[in-house]
């Protein structure tokens, strides 16, 4: 054998423990990226095999069959149809769950029919005895014409056997096991005549699937004379026949190989389901879990967040104190370090959220939530499957939009994508916290802290607006579609620590690097715009200001502050800010807030950092920014700038406005159109402006 890596594609139904097998094969030796041009996660890793060999393992998205109904599933077919792809597998490993073997084998037969050598992994083998399952592996290997590895990813058994099979992949038969063409011999016969060189099953997949596939084009097949094309509904009927035909084959293969003693199954599932999907207790438990999650995100994570905050503040001071004074140092101390701090500070919240979501998914509980919520959500044009994105949205809209992918119904999915940005994401939190601290008195009302109540109100407002706008969109959007909804209710499982750990680390990493780049770029641009300006007013700021203070009694500190603020006013950012002041003045803001709002359209969390930069505080220390903000006066009305009226107006603006470039980018990708993100941007922002305007004019 050459030193070339063996290309392995890991394929399987959802909930078969495919990811656990992947983690066992690769350990931490894996990386997560995206498939080119789409946002489907691409997980790959390297597996060390005995005798110095290596395998490149690609963990393909979970799918029930090769009949794709989502972007994620398309990826699987496109790879398996394209022999020229660099990831095209030398051997496919289909992971199945011993308890759902029959259903899992459907996908196996399809992969095998593509002529790819296919190993069957039967996972969760440790549960066989408890579930009264007995399996004759030899007979099954013979019937399916393949090699089987009995694996328990949880107990770490059978992995060595699997590695051995991967090494010897050349001995595995690549003969198809089901002859799909018997479902319509005439049609397939004609197809074979028209394309004698192509594999018949591949052609069939190209005809029935909406996928891109290198050298065969669907339209080309339709145009080729010599056989009659079929209507969509005829094709669908044939697909059903194919499925039934495959199940007949599977039933035959399993008849002798598999037996299940139903009495042996001690059913944990039904006992748990009786409580967790109960018409009353099911909801009570779900809301208790939600409360726990919010508690974790907003209370427990405040400790590490405070620590990060103060660390970055002192880091900034440290840079200033130890590096030689100059442009470069102040870029680092005032631009880059606070900018980085603005990213890192979200890590605890994001990590907590992903921790809970992956526990809920790993245990199988998430499907129960979908089941419980579907009816309620449908009333608003959403799906039970919208619950996961709406909950994830409280951390960040980006993963939330991606989490809508398993919603089968396009209209429900689109509405979910459109309303998710209303939920209070963690980027809004710093803005809320500082404004609330400024304008809402720290008093108690009926035993509740007023500031806390305001924060809770803002969260409810976010959810409420999301649900309400979904209801409106449901009425407006005229999208015809066949609504259907199928969700697997998997077995309950104790989550594997390793799976969860890897998941949390990967998700957090991709958030930090994704959002991080933007925040960092913005903070550098802002710093430059605030540090430079055109003309004499900016360059001679010091003389001009000093000229106004001839008396000696003024303390130097005050003069220096005066100079700084004069400079800022005449910097590029100051000029831009005063240009937009007429637009934001009716909402009760001055030009500095205007700038902070504009820069927030890149990412909301920039708000506090922008004000920090603009107020030339130099560090991100909240107390100082807060004091500076409290001291600001309103340029038009006089009096303090931050009053109840302008504060509430600002809070409402941030609650409704679509201020996040990354979210718009992901919406564009997921909807494959510019129409939706642009509508989102315009409608949400205009609405935010009007609400803020009314609030200010009413309260002032």
């Amino acid at each position: 054998m050459t030193g070339k890596q063996i290309n392995v594609a890991l394929i399987g139904n959802p909930n078969t423990g495919k990811t656990s097998v992947f983690n066992q094969l690769t350990g931490l030796n894996q990386k997560v990226g995206n498939y080119p041009g789409i946002t489907v996660e691409k997980k790959e890793g390297v597996c060390k095999l005995p005798r110095g060999l290596k395998a490149h393992i690609l963990d393909l998205p979970g799918t029930y069959s090769l009949n794709a109904s989502s972007l994620d599933e398309n990826v699987v077919i496109e790879l398996l149809l394209n022999k020229n792809d660099k990831d095209y597998p030398d051997v496919a490993v289909v992971v199945s769950d011993v308890e759902n073997l029959k259903r899992n084998l459907l996908l196996f037969t399809q992969i095998k029919d593509l002529g790819i050598p296919t190993i069957l992994v039967i996972n969760m083998a440790d549960r066989m005895e408890r579930k009264g399952i007995s399996l004759d592996v030899d007979i099954l290997e013979e019937r399916l014409n393949t090699k089987i590895a009995l694996v328990s990813a949880r107990k770490r058994t059978g992995i060595d056997k699997l590695k051995e099979l991967i090494i010897n992949h050349r001995n595995i038969s690549s003969e198809p096991c089901v002859n799909a063409s018997v479902i319509d011999p005439d049609y397939f016969g004609n197809l074979r005549k028209a394309f004698p060189k192509q594999s018949i099953y591949k052609l069939w997949l190209v005809i029935t699937q909406d996928v891109n596939f290198g050298n065969i084009n669907r339209n080309e097949i339709d145009k080729t004379s010599g056989f009659n094309t079929k209507s969509n509904s005829e094709l669908k009927r044939l697909q059903q026949k194919e499925t039934i035909h495959r199940y007949q084959f599977i039933n035959g293969a399993l008849k002798e190989a598999l037996s299940v003693d139903k009495n042996a199954a001690k059913d944990l599932r039904s006992r748990l389901d009786r409580v967790l999907t109960h018409k009353v207790w099911g909801y009570v438990i779900f809301f208790a879990i939600l409360l726990l999650i919010f508690q974790a995100i907003y209370d427990w994570s405040s400790y590490p967040m405070d620590l990060i905050d103060s660390t970055f503040a002192s880091l900034s001071e440290l840079t200033k104190a130890n590096l030689p004074e100059g442009v470069f140092t102040s870029l680092i101390a005032e631009g880059i370090v606070p900018g980085l701090g603005g990213i890192v500070i979200f890590i605890p919240q994001i990590a907590f959220l992903f921790l809970f979501i992956s526990i809920l998914e790993e245990t199988g509980y998430m499907s129960r939530v979908v089941f419980l919520m579907d009816r309620i959500m449908r009333r608003f044009g959403l799906s039970g499957k919208s619950v996961v994105p709406l909950v994830s949205g409280t951390a960040c809209a980006i993963p939330a939009v991606m989490a809508t992918r398993n919603i089968e119904n396009w209209k429900e999915r689109l509405i979910t994508i459109l309303v998710v940005p209303f939920t209070t994401c963690s980027a809004r939190l710093p803005v809320y916290l500082i404004i609330i601290a400024l304008v809402i008195p720290d008093e108690t009302f009926l035993g509740f802290n007023l500031q806390g109540l305001m924060l809770m109100f803002l969260y409810l407002l976010g959810f409420g607006t999301a649900i309400l706008s979904a209801w409106i969109l449901n009425g407006i959007l005229k999208i015809k579609n066949k609504s259907y909804f199928v969700i697997e209710m998997p077995n309950y499982k104790v989550p594997l620590l390793k799976n969860i750990g890897i998941n949390v680390i990967e998700k957090t990493k991709s958030f930090v690097f994704g959002a991080g780049k933007i925040i960092l770029a913005i903070s550098i641009i802002l710093w430059v715009l605030a540090s430079y300006g055109p003309g004499d007013n900016f360059n001679n700021a010091e003389e001009i200001v000093r000229g106004n203070y001839t008396e000696q009694s003024i303390p130097t500190e005050e003069i220096e502050q005066e100079i700084a603020s004069y400079k800022l006013k005449h910097s590029y950012i100051g000029i831009m800010g005063r240009g937009i002041e007429p637009v934001v003045a009716p909402l009760g803001y001055d030009w500095k807030i205007g700038i902070a709002i504009i820069s927030s359209f890149a990412a909301r969390e920039v708000f506090v950092g922008t004000l920090a930069t603009i107020y030339s505080v130099g560090s991100d220390e909240e107390e100082t920014i807060k004091n500076r903000m409290a001291a600001e006066t309103n340029p038009i009305l006089g009096g303090p700038l931050f009053t109840l009226a302008s504060g509430v107006s600002l809070l409402l603006f941030y609650a409704f406005a679509m201020q996040c470039m990354s979210t718009l980018a992901i919406v564009q990708k997921e909807t494959n159109s510019w129409k939706w993100p642009i509508l989102q941007l315009v409608i949400m922002s205009v609405f935010a402006y009007l609400v803020a305007l009314i609030a200010f004019q009413f309260l002032k």
């Binding site: 259903r103 089968e408 909804f485 199928v486």
Partner: protein, 76 residues
């Protein structure tokens, strides 16, 4: 009256008969919802929608509108 999956009570079982191809998604067939297979109603959400089924060992939930399309023969 034709009996469908939507008419099952909790714990009741039936055998799937024919159903119209245009109203039942392929994904449901792939998950084992095929003529001749046994179906049991495990649990329902309020208003009997969605319905949590055990079809031949496959556990899944579907909406009532889909359940109404799948004709069955009750097992007494």
């Amino acid at each position: 009256m034709k009996v469908t999956v939507a008419h099952l009570k909790r714990g009741e079982r039936g055998i799937i008969k024919e159903f119209s191809a245009d109203h039942v998604p392929l994904k449901l067939l792939e998950m084992g919802c095929l003529p001749g297979n046994e179906v049991e109603l495990v649990q329902t959400a309020p208003f009997k929608d969605p319905m949590y089924l055990n079809i031949n060992g496959s556990h899944l939930a579907i909406r009532k509108e889909t359940a109404l399309q799948i004709e069955i023969e009750l097992i007494k």
